[in-house]
């Protein structure tokens, strides 16, 4: 008898647990639903054009993904507020790929085959973009990436053929490195440079390689090259070596959070050399991390400058600031441009069919974007001017704009 009671007690206990678990799950589901709902616009299908937004919203590179997403969402909001396109509203479908390649592929597959998107925006990193590329190619959905700079994204390295459905709004490594080298040699009169790149990041690596090529081609000399890891926080040893090698400029094509530390640690060590970098530097945090004073005598090549006085740029900066409370970086600007570019393509095509969007995208000529006037070349890379920004007392100052001479 006693035993029976005992048995039932345990069963009850188990049920209590299961019910408890379900309640928690339900609560979480509700919370998630609300959270998710806030992200997405009116869901009445039929009358909307669905565009997939496949970005790195969590994980180690969440910064890039979420800023790009912010830019994209701002653009779509503006577009929808102005009546949408072809009489329909845009419905962005935002998904997180955690910065993991297989997740990016999974997200792309789901967006295309289950959600029925007509175009795919993303991802921010080359790795995740490359994972989404085969899916978009297979299902013939145009993919527009905002910051994947690896040449292999739009061109199949085996055949050398341009991938029909893949486009990007950012320039690729060679033009940026060429402009950087040009600027270093001709404007800053540097002859010996040291290169310090992020060894775990293909973007940074690609720039380093291209810069070395370009700089040596115009007669300069690279005296030292060194890589750092994504988990490195202490750059003093390498910097000490650089100053010994007799470099008169240090090229650091990395992301701002590391670059800022590299520069401030260099200044700490008394290294007063000029630093040159690339679009990865662009973030308001660069100044707050490195310190305004330390950044004097540093330059970087970029897609745009938030200090660019042109009306287009200033309108964007104002709108972004109003919505998110901070100055937009390149990622945001590129995302914003990508969203407008897709919509422009739909408008020009007069149809929201993927095939038509692709055709229209390929024919993009002199599209007026925040990040410059953009046309696609035969490799689906944008042709546009590159801005060179100087850091003056913590402010970005547009130094000059150059077109890559290749």
């Amino acid at each position: 008898m006693v035993y029976k009671c005992f048995g039932r007690g345990r069963v009850m206990n188990k049920w209590a647990k299961v019910v408890g678990l379900l309640v928690v799950l339900l609560a979480l589901g509700l919370a998630a639903g609300c959270g998710g709902g806030g992200q997405e616009e009116a869901k009445d299908t039929g009358d909307t054009i669905k565009i997939g937004v496949n970005y790195e919203l969590s994980g180690e590179v969440a910064t890039f993904g979420s800023h790009t997403k912010d830019g994209i969402m701002l653009a779509f909001e503006e577009i929808n507020a102005n009546g949408g396109v072809l009489g329909k509203k845009i419905e962005p479908i935002v998904r997180d790929n955690r910065g993991i390649a297989d997740e990016a592929m999974s997200v792309a597959t789901k967006l295309i085959t289950e959600e029925g998107i007509v175009a795919h925006l993303g991802a921010a990193t080359t790795g995740c973009t490359l994972a989404a590329v085969p899916v978009c190619m297979q299902y013939k959905i145009p993919l527009l990436t905002t910051s994947a700079t690896n040449p292999d994204v739009t061109v199949d390295p085996k055949t050398g053929e341009t991938r029909e459905y893949i486009f990007r709004t950012c320039f690729i490594d060679p033009p940026q490195a060429i402009v950087g080298a040009d600027f270093a040699y001709n404007d800053l009169k540097a002859r010996k440079v040291a290169i310090y790149y992020d060894n775990t990041n293909d973007y940074s690596k690609g720039l380093a390689v291209e810069f070395e090529k370009a700089f040596e081609a115009i007669g300069g000399q690279v005296v030292a090259t060194e890589g750092y890891g994504k988990d490195d926080e202490d750059f003093r040893p390498t910097l000490t070596n650089f100053s010994k090698a007799g470099a008169d400029l240090i090229y650091v094509p990395g992301y701002y959070q590391k670059v800022a530390k590299i520069i401030s640690q260099a200044r700490e060590l008394g290294i007063k050399l000029p630093f040159l970098g690339a679009d990865g530097w662009d973030s308001p945090e660069l100044v707050s991390i490195a310190g305004a004073e330390n950044l004097n005598n540093t330059y970087f090549t970029n897609h745009y400058s938030s200090s660019d006085p042109s009306e287009r740029v200033q309108n964007f900066v104002k709108a972004y600031k109003k919505k998110y409370g901070s100055v937009p970086d390149s990622f945001a600007a590129l995302g914003y441009d990508a969203a407008y570019l897709i919509v422009d393509a739909i408008k020009r095509a007069g149809s929201a069919e993927p095939e038509a969007i692709k055709e229209a995208l390929a024919q993009t000529k002199n599209f007026e974007a925040v990040t410059g006037t953009l046309s696609f070349d035969e490799k689906h890379n944008p042709v546009k001017e590159i801005a060179i920004i100087e850091m003056v007392d913590g402010k970005q100052v547009l130094k000059t704009k150059k077109a890559p001479k290749s």
């Binding site: 647990k17 678990l21 928690v24 799950l25 979480l28 919370a31 998630a32 959270g35 998710g36 992200q39 919203l57 969590s58 979420s66 935002v94 998904r95 997180d96 955690r98 993991i100 390649a101 297989d102 997740e103 592929m105 999974s106 997200v107 597959t109 789901k110 295309i112 085959t113 289950e114 080359t126 790795g127 490359l130 994972a131 590329v133 085969p134 299902y139 690896n150 292999d152 199949d156 390295p157 085996k158 060894n199 775990t200 990041n201 293909d202 690596k205």
Partner: protein, 319 residues
């Protein structure tokens, strides 16, 4: 007794065949959507990972946090062979798996003196070494990873390898060798005193586990088009360990169920964008608190058990 076993085997084989052809047909007719198909592959890969890691952690009792390292070796070797040298998928897969098994022996032999957390950290180090080396090899694409891998892995391959893995490890466990491994888990000193060569069995468990992790890597590489060193980070090892613990240490069916369950949860949560990982983490904690011994503990779901549960005839099948 033998007759009963024969019928049981025939029944199992028939069920498997039906599953195989049914899924094959569903894929061909498109009833299984591409997204579901992708998750099917993830399930297969996760089953292989979980079952092979369970052999090391669950059955032999050696806490290893370097499973992603073995997976990486299998993925990279096989992918290099198919894309750069042009070797067919099957031999490339086997080569990748054998290379991983060799790694298992190399890492297994010296680290077997280590116990518990020290072994865990040494194997974690091994995984990071593999990743660190891959990042530095330009030939395989460095940090950007190896791209342009053909999607050779199709449903028959996936089914075949998953089945082989499960059968291999199941048969291994249910033999005197498997019992030797479990004895080591239970009490290493007593196992040694009963005449079991504990070093041999620990290395054996490591190399078999690594072999199948290598297979999982090869499948992964040849389904997802590209592989990157960062895919095989410590987090991947944790994922595999999670499946093993969640399913129940020492339960193969538990590992399988966990692999299916966790993959589906991950897929379902995908729609929640940023919130997904938060919810995933909360779920993980809740599940572990409510079932610390894992879904099945050390029990197995077998046809016998199922029959008994459903009140059918009990199989008096004395082992």
């Amino acid at each position: 007794m033998d007759k009963q076993r024969l019928w049981l085997n025939v029944g199992v084989a028939a069920t498997l065949a039906v599953v195989y052809f049914a899924v094959d047909w569903l894929i061909k007719t498109g009833i299984i959507t591409p997204f579901q198909q992708l998750n099917l592959y993830l399930i297969g890969i996760n089953i292989i990972l979980a079952v092979s890691l369970n052999l090391i952690v669950g059955f032999t009792g050696q806490l290893a946090l370097g499973h992603a390292g073995f997976m990486a070796v299998g993925a990279y070797i096989s992918a290099v062979l198919t894309t750069k040298i042009g070797i067919p998928f099957l031999p490339a897969t086997l080569a990748g798996a054998l290379a991983a098994a060799l790694m298992g022996i190399i890492i297994g032999l010296p680290t077997l003196r280590l116990r518990g957390d020290y072994l865990a950290i040494a194997t974690l180090g091994f995984g990071e070494i593999v990743r660190g080396i891959l990042i530095n090899i330009e030939y395989v694409g460095g940090a950007a990873g190896l791209i342009g891998i053909k999607q050779y892995c199709t449903w028959p391959w996936l089914f075949f390898w998953t089945l082989i893995t499960v059968l291999f490890i199941k048969n291994f466990i249910n033999s005197t060798h498997g019992r030797a491994c479990i004895a080591i888990r239970e009490d290493e000193i007593a196992a040694e005193a009963m005449g079991i060569n504990t070093t041999k069995y620990k290395v054996l468990a490591f190399s078999i586990g690594a072999f199948f992790a290598g297979i999982a890597g090869a499948i992964y590489a040849h389904y997802f088009f590209l592989i990157q060193p960062n895919t095989f980070s410590i987090l991947k090892s944790f994922d595999a360990l999670l499946l093993v613990v969640f399913g129940g240490l020492g339960s193969l069916t538990g590992s399988i169920i966990a692999a299916v369950f966790v993959t589906l949860i991950t897929a379902l949560l995908q729609d929640l964008a940023q919130l997904r990982m938060v919810i995933y983490a909360v779920l993980l904690i809740i599940i572990m608190i409510f079932r610390p011994q894992g879904l099945l503990g050390t029990k197995e779901v077998t046809f016998e058990v199922l029959c008994k549960k459903m009140g059918g005839t009990t199989w008096h099948c004395s082992k």
